[in-house]
Structure formats: structure tokens, C-alpha cells
């Protein structure tokens, strides 16, 4: 850890100017991941720009039936919001599956999306890591592999994205509002987080200085019947081995529409388009659900430490969809 400047601008534009103009600067929200990384010496900002004052911490209805979540809304508040719980059970459940009560009280919506992998080699300065120091190599390949990616990884990086919330938002198709040096723009999920390719140091499509100001949740009736299931090594306070966010619209025993995303499998929350395709128009049988999961995982690249993720993901998807359709039947 080294000394750093700290500022708390009054306007979002001032915060963006402060970070954009200083390559060593970083935004800080709840600090629940950034401060850890600073202590570990793997992120070494020279200036922190606190954005909790300039970002909204409110959850508002938009005229078109969407919901706007301010960038500084704490994870706890988002999980507990009555409309979020009613319209997006998958999101509320995902938030509550993450971290601990204390961390959720501090962690912000924008910060949660931008938290970095907990890959044990990324977090250890003594180890080669392309994400931390491009070009040094990936020591997770051939090492402690339990949390490594099985989808979309590259020879340069096998890290997984740690967020639960982002998996639900990826399934829902949330829209992220970004304020950058050139003004405002939006980025749709999936699409915010990227796969590692040859640039694993870049987690998202955002550029230095970009600030997430809000996340819009869509008008999406099928999300009324949605769920998040996280499988982990203990009952609480662990990152996902595999997680599933899913929503189903079923009419007369046939899947009309489906949204599926996986966590724990890839460098980004993994929207399962192939699984959705297989599900659409198909029956609500467990075998059909498994078939969808197998289709999505067909391209999985596994090692001895993480081969279990393939059957675990297929099983968990089948479990979640079965429970959603059991509800449908009631």
C-alpha cells in the first residue's frame, strides 16, 4: 500500500474529469474490493475519487416500465426493494447470495459490476498474471484450478468473474449508464464485461475515466418467474463454483421464452444464448432442460481442477428450471 490522494467531488462531471485526467486515479464506491486490492498491493492508485456523494442511491420507476438503479445504491437496498423483489426475484436472490450482510451494506451497484476476479494468482503479487501484469503469463493455468473458467477463456487468462448480481443483470438484459470524458452513453448487458482474449487486463468495455452512474432494469414480465441458484463450497460467504440465473415464460407446457445466464464459468457473466434457443418452443421436461444445459456447455474447456463444473452447471440449470416450472404449474 502506498500513499494516495483522496477527493470527494460534488459533481459527477468533476469526478470524471479528476479520474480521466490522471492515469493513476481510480473511483471508489463502497471500497469492498478496491481496498482489499490496495492492501494486497495489486492495485496501486495514486488518487481515489469518492463517488458516493455524486451518484444516486435511489431506485426509481421510469415511465416506460423500467426501473432505474442509482450507481451508489447499496447491494442490500437493491436486494430488499419491494419492486425488485416482486419483478426481478432473480436479482434480489443473486444479491443476497453474494458476500455478507456487512459487505452488501457497503458495496454499491456500480462497484459490484466492476469488482475484479478473485483468482488467487491475480491476487498474489509474487505470481505471474497477465491480468495484473500483461505479458508475464498465466499461473492459474496448471495451478489451483477450482475456480477457473471453463467457457470463453484464453491461453492468457482463465479467471472467472466473481459477481452474482452481474449474472442476474446479464440474464435480464440490464442497461448500464456510463458517464465518460466524452459525455453519457449506455452499454447493454451482456456486453459490459468482456472475455479475456489477448487482453485479460481489460475486464469490461469501459475506458479509464468512465463512471457507471446507473443501471436500468427492463420491463420484462417473464422475470416475475425467475430465480438465482448459487452452488458453492459452503452455505454462505464463498464465491460460486457455478451459479444460474434463469427466467421462463411457459404457456400450455411449452417454453415461450427463456433467459439464462451462468456465473462461475467464465471471465464474464455468461449469457446462455444457446441454452435459451434450445429451451424456446420446447417442453418443460427435465430432459429438455438438461439438453439446453449440455448445448451451452458443449464447448467447455476443462482441466482436472474444474471439470466438475460442466455436470454441476447442467444439473443446476435443470434444477432451477424445474423449480420455476413447478411454480408455473401451481
Amino acid at each position: 500500500m502506498r500513499p494516495f490522494d483522496y477527493s470527494r467531488p460534488a459533481e459527477a462531471s468533476a469526478a470524471v474529469a479528476a479520474v480521466a485526467g490522471d492515469p493513476g486515479a481510480a473511483y471508489i464506491g463502497g471500497g469492498t474490493n478496491l481496498v482489499d486490492r490496495m492492501k494486497l498491493g495489486i492495485t496501486r492508485p495514486t488518487a481515489l475519487v469518492d463517488v458516493r456523494e455524486v451518484l444516486s442511491d435511489r431506485i426509481e420507476d421510469l415511465p416506460d416500465g423500467w426501473i432505474r438503479v442509482g450507481g451508489a445504491v447499496p447491494n442490500s437496498d437493491l436486494a430488499a426493494h419491494p419492486e425488485v423483489r416482486r419483478r426481478f426475484p432473480v436479482l434480489s436472490q443473486a444479491l443476497l447470495a453474494g458476500a455478507s450482510g456487512q459487505l452488501r451494506n457497503a458495496a454499491t451497484t456500480g462497484g459490484n459490476l466492476l469488482q475484479r476476479t478473485r483468482c488467487v494468482y491475480f491476487q498474489n503479487r509474487a505470481m505471474p498474471c497477465n491480468k495484473r501484469e500483461p505479458g508475464t503469463g498465466c499461473s492459474a493455468v496448471g495451478g489451483y484450478g477450482r475456480y477457473n473458467a471453463v467457457l470463453g477463456a484464453s491461453e492468457h487468462c482463465v479467471a472467472t468473474h466473481p459477481s452474482d448480481m452481474a449474472v442476474a443483470m446479464t440474464a435480464l438484459g440490464a442497461r448500464v449508464h456510463v458517464l465518460g470524458p466524452a459525455g453519457e452513453r449506455t452499454v447493454d448487458m451482456p456486453g459490459l464485461h468482456r472475455l479475456p482474449g489477448a487482453e485479460p487486463e481489460r475486464d469490461t468495455v469501459l475506458e479509464h475515466g468512465d463512471l457507471i452512474t446507473a443501471v436500468d432494469l427492463p420491463h420484462l414480465p417473464l422475470a416475475l418467474r425467475s430465480a438465482y441458484r448459487k452452488v458453492r463450497d459452503r452455505a454462505s460467504y464463498a464465491f460460486a463454483l457455478v451459479s444460474v440465473a434463469a427466467a421462463l415464460d411457459v404457456v400450455d407446457g411449452t417454453v415461450v421464452d427463456a433467459r439464462v445466464a451462468f456465473g462461475g464459468l467464465a471471465h464474464a457473466p455468461w449469457r446462455a444464448h444457446r441454452a435459451e434457443e434450445v429451451l424456446r418452443g420446447g417442453p418443460t421436461t427435465e430432459e429438455a432442460f438438461r439438453e439446453a444445459g449440455r448445448a451451452e456447455l458443449a464447448g467447455a474447456d476443462t482441466g482436472p481442477g474444474n471439470a466438475f463444473k460442466v455436470p454441476m452447471a447442467v444439473n443446476t440449470l435443470a434444477l432451477v428450471l424445474r423449480e420455476l416450472t413447478a411454480e408455473e404449474a401451481r
Partner: protein, 696 residues
Amino acid sequence: MTETTSQPRAMGRPLARLEGADKVTGRAPYAYEHALEDPLYLHPVLSTFARGRVTGVDASEAEALEGVRAVLTPGNAERLADTEDREFAVLQSDEVAFHGQFVAAVVADTPETARQAAGLVRVDYERSQHDVVLTVDHEGLYRPESEGGPASDTEQGEVEEALERAEFLVDHTYSTPTEHNNPMEPHTTVALWEEEAGRLTLYDSTQGVHVVRASVAAVFGLELEQVRVVAPHVGGGFGSKGEAHAHDVLAAMAARALPGRPVKFALTRQQMFCLVGYRTPTIQRVRLGADREGRLGVLVHDSVEQTSTVKEFPEQSAMCSRWMYAAPHRRTTHRMAALDVPVNFWMRAPGEAPGMYALEAAMDELAQACGLDPVELRVRNEPETDPQSGNPWSDRQLVRCLREGAERFGWYGRDPAPGARREGDWLVGTGVASASYPHLFNPGSVAHVRYGDDGRYEVGIGAVDIGTGSWTALTQIAADALGCSADGVRLRIGDTALPEASVAGGSSGTSSWGTAIVTAARAFRAEHGDSPAPGASARASAAQDTVDEGYAVYSFGAHFAEVRVHSYTGEIRVPRMFGMFSVGRVVNPRTVRSQFLGGMVMGMSMALHEESFRDPRYGHIANGDFAEYHVPTNADVGDLRVDWLEGEDLRATPMGSRGVGEIGIVGTAAAVANAVHHATGVRVRDLPVTPDKVLR
């Protein structure tokens, strides 16, 4: 030792922790928290490879930082007087023997500056090939010397013939991974060297102030009287604080380089995975041969373990197989390989915890092979006398623990078929395992008793309360020994200014210190009668081992666990556990219950969670923090219950008590793993039992 205390009045009562209010209000100082003037802070630099040499240390950038007071390196560190114990040879040479070894340290005005400066110290290395992976056929395996301790190998009867004759034979290999103790309070030493007085004071997080004093005095060539070690409150140790480690030496060394200012050094959680001991991985082959009735004819337990090239520590995992069950033919062996890894050391029930996992899992497999109920199998193999010595048992209550435990848990009527019970998506099973721990007594503890002007007895002994309740239990023991109320005793512990006391380890603390207190109280009464004058005092030692040598003195218990395994995800839950123990007299039911529960949670953790993954390429523990090294959360701990058989064992101690610190973890992992098998039909022989291993 047949003389009992007068009818106990304080012992046996659930007295609340005397220091509890101070702890929850933050007034009980732990090592780092002692209010000392003008402290400095130390942050170490650790090696980032497992074997080789430091060829150069460039501290110029670190030294240039404002607030840095000293950078200690192998080049400038004090030459130590005695480094026969090579764990203490801190910064004495350029040799690196494991990943995470101290290679330099920064002392600065603030912890932040020390940490920053440590990151600026540039260390050049010359790496050598390292060897950090234990295998069952490692070419470096050797039989450890026993040197006065129990023999490494034992053999009785005709083992090979008996194996051939057995009607049922179970022959499997079980493994346990490297595990780290991880007490909540990190290892901490605050050191102050007063140059003129020639006095070194350590505020240390330790299980034995006198133990640390002896080590540190020897290392620095000081007289015992020159060193004082203080530890009024300690936040857990689980064995890892049972002796001084390299950090004590480093802190003292820094203090001696900067006389007059206290140097504070608390290890980070990550550093605790390198420097303060751990449980060796074990590879254990267990062979059980039984007749048609399930009676053991032969028991063979071979354990392979690792130790460090720096210092040898043998974990005697097969020891438990020498006394648990009757078998005319028996062999136990231990083999070790010295690797380029940190020094392994005590972790709660060293030997028994991994050993009883293997033995009790094998017993479960034998029960299944013989078609016997696992409780009944154990009952049938109850030895009348100690199979090792032939001595009668002092108080062997295994069968009662098994039977009463089974009754209380609701064991009977259990369908023995594996993988046959389902509640929704959850597969349900139950498992049992025996528990046992030897009664250990460390001679040499001394206590003093002084009658104060305020009408209270001051009882002093240099013991340590590591969070187990010693402040309270020793007060109760003293009260009964003196025939006064607990309020009438003012206990003093946790300081080498108080009389010699042995380590809080091996479940021996209360036994050893309590015996000294009882001895001193009797001496006091003999000298001063029942109406002493204020200022009257006496001092006595429990110098002799008071344990009756004609008897085999052990504690016993039985664990029962219910396990649920999710048939889709492999998630494993333990909704309930029951532990039934026999430990002689229970001095304080409240704190003893806590000890049992804590041991059982740690055993469940061993079964399902704990695994330090040592990366063979770099030699470090890859998952060395609390995000990835899992222990149970509250949500993992279900309905845990314990009870014990009322009793007293005056052959063990004059209090009638035996130790309770370790038995709770012994056998627990087997009970859980056996229940996982019963639930799923999947036998996992390599701990921990994680979802991926039971997923179908």
C-alpha cells in the same frame, strides 16, 4: 494420587467467563493492543520462491521513505547466540528453505509505511530446484527417530498371516490435506528492548509465556530473568501458538536494533500460511481384518507424512490405532519426507485428528463389509485392557458414549443401505465415529498462593488462557482447593513474572496447572491453617507426574452426524451432530461445552472444507486467505449438541478431570464422511469431501 479435593463446590458449576465483560467491551488487551508509548511497526519481506539463495538485498528505496527506522536483512541482522533450532535462525544466512521465509523486514513509524517500504525492498535470488510434493512413494521417506517419545513403529503378533486369514478385509488408503490452524487473532509479538536494563519484554499471542521466554532467551543468549513475556488474553491458537516461531525472533531482533521503542508485529492472514505451523498432509493406509462376527484379528495403520528441511516435526497419525480397538495382530508405522516447505507443527489433536479420520472411516467400511451396525462393530472390538501396555483402563467409557450417544441422537432403527433415503432433492444419511484423546500431563508447573489484606486469596501461575476459559476454570479449581468461594480467589496468569507453567497444549493445561494450584493450596493450608494471617503465602510445584502409571488414562467419546447431500448440485449440509464424551470431572460445564462444540465444528470443517493447496510449481499455498481457505460459516453449522458422562478420574488429576481441548475434533471428520457415504453411496477417502467429489 487417590486423595481428592474436599467436595467440590465451585467446580462443576457453569460459571460465566470472568473476563467476558472485558472482552466484549474491548477492555481485555490482546497482544497488539497493549497501550505502549511511541511504538514502531514491523512488516516483513518474504521469499517468493521455495529454495535457493538471496544474492542481494537493495533496501535503498525503502530506507529513503520518510518514517522508516530500520531495514533488517541477512547482511545486517544481529548474529544470534543459539540457532540449533533452525526455525529461529532468522536472517542468519542467505539460504532460503521455503516459500514465505523471512528475507528482510522493515520497521517504521506507522504500519502503512512499514508495509509500503517492505514492498520497495528489492531482493535478488538464485533459485534451486525445489521439492514440495508429498507422495506415498517419495524417495526421501524415512522413519523418524522417536527420541524418548512413542516409537515410530510398533508390531504385535503375526500380522501378515493374520491378514491372509481374515474373513473380511478392508484395505484402503485415506488422505488428509495440508491444513492451517488459523486462529482468529493473528500471531503477534510486540517487543521492547531496554538497553541499559538489559531487559526484553514481549507482549505475545502465545499458548505458553514461559515456553516463549525459554526459547527467546536462548536464541539471544540472555538469562531467563532478562526476558519477560506477557499474554493476558489470547484469541485462539489451536496449537500454532504452542511454541515461539520465527516472528517472535524477528520482532525481538528489531526491538534490539531500536532500543527503547516497542516494535509491534502482527502477521497478516496471508503470512500465517507461511510462518506459524500447519498440519502435514497425510497419506494413510489402513488394513482391518475381521472374522465373521466382526471381531478384529489384525489392524495395520501406515501413515506417510511430510516435514520441513528446516526442522523435523513428526505427526503421529497412526498412534490412535495402538489403543482404540482389540486386535491380537497389529502394526503401526510412520514415514516422513523432509520437503522444501515451512515447518509443520501442532494443529488441534496432532496425530489423532487425521489418524482417527482414517481409522474410523475404515471401521465404517468394515461394518459395511461385515453387515454390522457401525456402533455394534465398535462395541465388539472393545479391548479389556490397553492393547499397548496391557494396563487396565483408568476410565474407558467408549461403549457407554457410543450407546448413550446413539440413543440420544436417534441412531437406532437406521437403515444401513447407502444412498437409500431422500427428502426432496436431498439425500440423507447418518454416520458415527469414535473419539479418543490421551490424558497428558506436563510436569513442572508451579503456583503460589497468598492471602491478601482484602481477605481474598491471590493465586498466581504463569499459565495462559487462549480463549478456552482458563481464567475461570483455574479460579474454580483454586476455590475448591482452598475451600473458599470463587469470589474469594484473585487469579493471576499470563505473565512470566508469575511462576513457571507448561504450555496450553495437548489438552494438558487445566490438568497440569490445576494440579500445581491444588498442590500449592494444600501446602498453604498445611503451613498456615484455615485462618491465615494477611500476607501468608505458599508456593508449590506439580513437579512429579501425578498420573497413575499403572493405568491407561484416556478420554473417549462418540460423534454422530446427519448429513444431507443435494442430488443435483453435490452441496453438503450437516443439519445436526451429537457428541457424547467422557472426560472425567467437568470443571466448568459452560466452557467445556464450548470446547466440545468448537472441536466438533473444526472437525466438520476438516471433513468438508479445509484444504491448503500448495502449488507444486512455486511451493506456496495458493489459497492462503479466508476467501479461499474455507472454514464453516454460521450457516454451515446446524443443530450441534454435546453431552458428557458424569464422572471423576482421580488417577488423572487431583481435580478428577482430564483435558477437553482436543477430543472434540477427533473422529468428527470420519463421522461426517461416513454419513456422506450413507447418504450417497459415494465413499470419499480424500478429505475434504467437497461437492465435486460426490456429484453424479
